[in-house]
């Protein structure tokens, strides 16, 4: 009992303290669950004009799942406060990651998410691949040839062989069309 008492209060090399991932996660999720139950459900789930049975309600399953999340995350929070989890090891790798690396990844994600139709499959593919290669600090010029070859080959493969149309890119279309 005494040993667990100690873990409870103080963080150590092997264990987290009271502010451990589990209690924080539990806390965050219970807040989210409550706002889902009392704000999102009534506002964004329309009720039908009439129902044959209360179990048929469109709100039934979301409510059930919402309450489950609430109860479980409350449990998780309590559990985290009583038994702080052990520290994992992979955290070493996550410290001191160059900011540039993460920014470039984010940029690649933005290219795909917002400019896919404008740049087209090939254009955004090349652009994002280059960004991600830069993020890893690849130096060889020959490797960068891959960033062109792959998007082009794969796009053509999708379009001709599999008959799956990918966007050409509205930017190029309007540029060449004038």
């Amino acid at each position: 009992m005494e040993t667990s008492e100690k873990q409870f209060v103080e963080a150590s090399e092997a264990h987290y303290g009271r502010w451990n991932p589990n209690s924080v996660l539990g806390g965050v999720f219970s807040i989210l669950a409550v706002s889902f139950l009392f704000y999102v459900i009534p506002r964004y789930i329309e009720m039908p004009f009439s129902m044959q049975h209360p179990l048929l309600s469109p709100q039934f399953l979301p409510q059930l799942a919402g309450w489950l999340v609430f109860v479980l995350s409350a449990l998780l929070m309590v559990d985290g406060l009583i038994n702080p989890p052990k520290r994992g090891e992979p955290e070493e790798l996550r410290r001191g990651v160059p900011v540039m690396r993460q920014v470039l990844m984010l940029a690649a994600g933005i290219v795909y998410a917002f400019f896919f139709e404008q740049l087209g499959a090939i254009g955004s593919g090349i652009f994002a691949c280059v960004l991600l290669f830069l993020a890893s600090g690849l130096r060889s010029i020959w490797l960068y040839a891959l960033t062109i070859i792959f998007p082009v080959v794969v796009t053509l493969l999708f379009i001709y062989l599999l008959n799956v149309p990918l966007p050409v890119g509205t930017l190029w279309e309007s540029f060449f069309q004038i």
């Binding site: 796009t155 379009i159 001709y160 149309p165 050409v168 279309e173 060449f176 069309q177």
Partner: protein, 330 residues
Amino acid sequence: MMKLMKTRVKGRILCALAAVSLTYGGLVQADEWPEDNIRLVVPYSAGGTTDLLSRKMADLLQKELTTVVVENRPGAGSTIATAQLARGGRGSDHMLLMASPGHTIGASIYPSLRYDPLEDFAFVRNMINIPNVMVVPSSSPYTTVAEFIEAARTQEFSFSSPGIGSSIHMSGELFKSMTDSNLVHVPFRGSGEALPALLSGDVDVAFENMPTVYPHIKSGKLRALAVTSPTESEFLPGVPTLQEAGKEYGLETYETYAWFGFIAHKSFPAEAMVKLQAALDNVMASEEFKKFLPQFGAEAGTVVGEDFREFVQKDLEKWSDVAEKANLKR
């Protein structure tokens, strides 16, 4: 086949590289139409009836005109693809959409549509019509429509459909509102899920598409009470139409179809339309098309151009009315 593939690849490379469009670009000369592949948009996912029919039609049409590429663009009934077609833009003079009751039902039940289901489109022609059949399980005590309606006015019955807003569901809602019967809709996801419940008698009745229930009517597991088309179907001789079997119960104008036809953007060039309609006439006159129809219990579509628009308009009025009565209008 090889040649087809080649032309398709060629056409697409022109398009993909876009550079060539410098020379080819600009206004479309109608006598050159089609100068590119035709894109046939299917507003449903691959594998459904609409998809299957579209692919067959594409196959037949490309023997007449040029390569036809089928694109699936499902979502929100069929309204996402339809909205995309309505927006038009580059390439819309080579774009067709396989419209079906989803076009009119979608317009009746989806909120704030971003297009006008009639004004924003050019109507090419109606290709195929498939009647629905009112079927009960063979264990059901009812053998005529009249008996069924009598019973349904005193007790509650369930009818199955492959999903809310399908022509099968709406046929049932139309029946319900016209006859004042007690029908409860039980939605399934696809006819594959709906059928076992019907065969085993878990649901009492359905207004299913002909090809889905035809084999089961033949094998005696289901009993056909009526067809929903205004004329009897040659596939089910002796089975009355709902109009005639239910005329004393308010069904004298009952008529539903799963209809399929091509629509295009409203600015579809008139000369191209003439060419396309002529090609489709050839398709419909072909042996292959005629052989294909009975396999789906289908009939050849009849209405062309503006008549097709009128047909769609009537369909739209009917479903808007039903949607309102069944509280489906959002």
